[in-house]
Every structure is written in C-alpha cells, then in structure tokens.
Amino acid sequence: MTNLAVQLEGQQLSSLQTHVHDALASGATHAKGQQHPIKLYLVVWGWLFVLSTCSYLVDYFGLHGHLRWSLILLFMVLKAGLIVAVFMHMAWERLALAYAILLPPVLVLVFVAIMVFESDYTHLLRVIFFASPT
C-alpha cells in the first residue's frame, strides 16, 4: 500500500516536473515569440505610405469611373494584405488559424451581392414611383 502511495507520489512529482519543464519551455517560446527583423516592418511601413499616397492621388487627380474604382480597390486590398500578413503576423501563423479568421470575412461578399440586388430593386422602385420630376 505504502509502496503504491510512494509510486503515485512519484508519478505526481514527475508530472509536476514535466509541467515545470513545459513552463520553462513556454518561457523560451515567449521570449522568441514573433521575432522578425525591424527592417521588415520599416519596409512595410514605407509601402503603406506609398500605397496611401497613391490612393489619395486617385482622388487628387479626380480619376473617374471604372479606373477610379479598380485603383481604389487595388490599393485597399494591397494595404489590408500588408497589415494583416506582416503587422499582424498572419503570414507566420498556422493555416488552421489563418483560414479560420480570413475565410469568414470573404463570405461577407455574398451578403454584398444580396444587398446590391436589393438596393438596385429599391432604386428602381423609387425611380418609378417616387422620383420628383426635375
């Protein structure tokens, strides 16, 4: 009986030791964390400035129509991609997290499509029935 108790205690002790070991190991990983050279952040920072300037210039030069919209979307997606991938470190996360976080917002596009149809319909009704004759 005492033997068993000792054995149990020994097991607990060893499990405690593994815990301590894990804790130390986790400390080590914490110290490492997401470590990337500062230069990378500065380069991305620079690119974000360039892209923001470009999207501002789209407005400044008064571009119109499809050119304007496609340029705005292009610069927006590039900026968002840089921020998420590098600043938020998504590029270095495991795919299980990346897809869990990045896929659902893409599905919002379905909602966008639905509302485009809806607002076209509303617009049509307003033009037919409510638009003031000007």
Partner: protein
C-alpha cells in the same frame, strides 16, 4: 501559468503543413490553434466578430448610397480644407490616414522590442502609438465639429442625400470609439511594461494571473485591426 502550460505543451515538434495541417489541427480532438495562446486566439476571434460589425455598417452605407435617387454628396469636396489659400481636396483625411499608418508602424516595432524584453523601448513605442491615436481622434473631433457647423445632421445635409450624415456619424463614430479604446488599452499595457510587470511576472489586478510580453502583441493585433478598418473606410466612404 496553467493555461500557458497547456498552450505550449505541444510535444510533437513536427506538425503537418498545408491542407493536411488544417485537417489535422481541426480534427485533433483537442485545440485547433496549436501554437497560439488562448489570449491571442480569442483576440483574433473578437476581431473577426468586429469585422462583421464594420462590414454591416459599410454594407448599410452601400445599400443607402446605391438605392437613393438623390445625388450623394461628393466626399472629395465635403472633406476639403483651405490651407494657406489653397483648396486641397480630402487633405484632412489623407493626413489622418498617414497618422494611423505611422501608429501601426510604431506598434509593430513595439511588439518586436517587447519580445526582446526591452522594457523602455517597448513602452516608449507604445506610448508613441497612443499619441498618434490620440492625434487621430483629435482630428476626427475637428472634422465632426466642422461638418456639424456646416449643417450636417444624421437626418440631412446641405449637399445631397440625407443618409450621408447618419452613415458618416455611425461609421466614423464607431471607428473613433475603437481608436479611443485602443489608446486607453495601449496606455494601460505600456504602464505595465514600464513597471516591469512582465519581467517579474507580477499578477494582474483584475485577473490575478501573470502577464507575459505576448500581451504587447495582442494589444498590437487590436491596434492594427483599427488601422485595417480605416483602410476600408478610407476606400469606401471617402474615396468612392
């Protein structure tokens, strides 16, 4: 400590990559996010839900703008400023964008110095980020004041479609609230960093749990998200 033990006790150093990795992680009958702590995973999930909130705002804006028969006010003109006698379109918003991007840059570097356990530099960069954020909120307050003085209300404005005001106040107001909360969050964590809480593993006031430098990265996630939302607002509301 208990939760971080769980967090990092992944014994198998060789995990699958690619699609097989996704299947293995999600089907492992344990935790799906293998090398991510709960704090970080939950911040990501919170940000995902926040993404949906902002998506709904932008969608309602899109619906209002697409379905109205009244011309939409031209944001390029509405947000123009006279600086030194020159009429510059959208300049205030451009400056706000650059300020927010700069704050993201300093935040990214703060995370880096945090993991190097450089207390002073981390706290200084976080406080710089907070200062940029506060400047942004200040400029937004200026913008709101200017528009309200010019007669923009949630139910109407002098230039066109009545929905412009409600959309503007709702979207930028909610974003500005996020920035304000972010500034408070940054200052609180910067204070802890500076005090050395994460070096001596001092227990938190509310949670009674030990903190780690990872909180700097989690704060950073929130802050970068605020910047990210601004990218979309800038594109869809101000430039479109």
């Amino acid at each position: 400590m208990a939760e971080t033990v769980l967090t990092h006790s992944g014994q198998s150093p060789a995990r699958l990559e690619g699609w097989r990795g996704i299947a293995a992680d999600w089907a492992s009958d344990q935790r799906a996010f293998k090398n991510v702590s709960w704090g970080k995973a939950m911040m990501w999930i919170f940000l995902l839900s926040d993404t949906f909130i902002f998506s709904c705002f932008l969608l309602s804006y899109m619906t209002a703008r697409m379905s109205t028969t009244v011309p939409w006010p031209n944001p390029s003109e509405v947000f123009a400023l006279n600086i030194g006698g020159n009429h510059i379109p959208l300049i205030l918003i451009a400056i706000m964008t650059f300020i927010l991007i700069s704050s993201s840059g300093t935040m990214a570097m703060a995370v880096n110095f945090g993991y190097r356990r450089d207390r002073v530099k981390t706290a200084a960069l976080m406080l710089a980020t907070a200062a940029f954020g506060a400047t942004f909120v200040g400029m937004q307050a200026f913008e709101w004041t200017k528009l309200i003085m010019e007669g923009v209300r949630p139910w109407g404005n002098p230039w066109g479609a009545a929905q412009f005001g409600s959309n503007f106040f709702m979207i930028t107001g909610f974003h500005g609230t996020h920035v304000t909360i972010g500034v408070i969050f940054l200052i609180a964590i910067a204070r802890k960093v500076l005090r050395g809480d994460f070096d001596v593993e001092r227990r938190g006031f509310f949670t009674s749990r030990k903190g780690y430098y990872e909180i700097v990265e989690i704060t950073g996630l929130y802050w970068h998200f605020v910047d990210l939302v601004w990218v979309f607002i800038f594109a869809f509301f101000y430039l479109w």
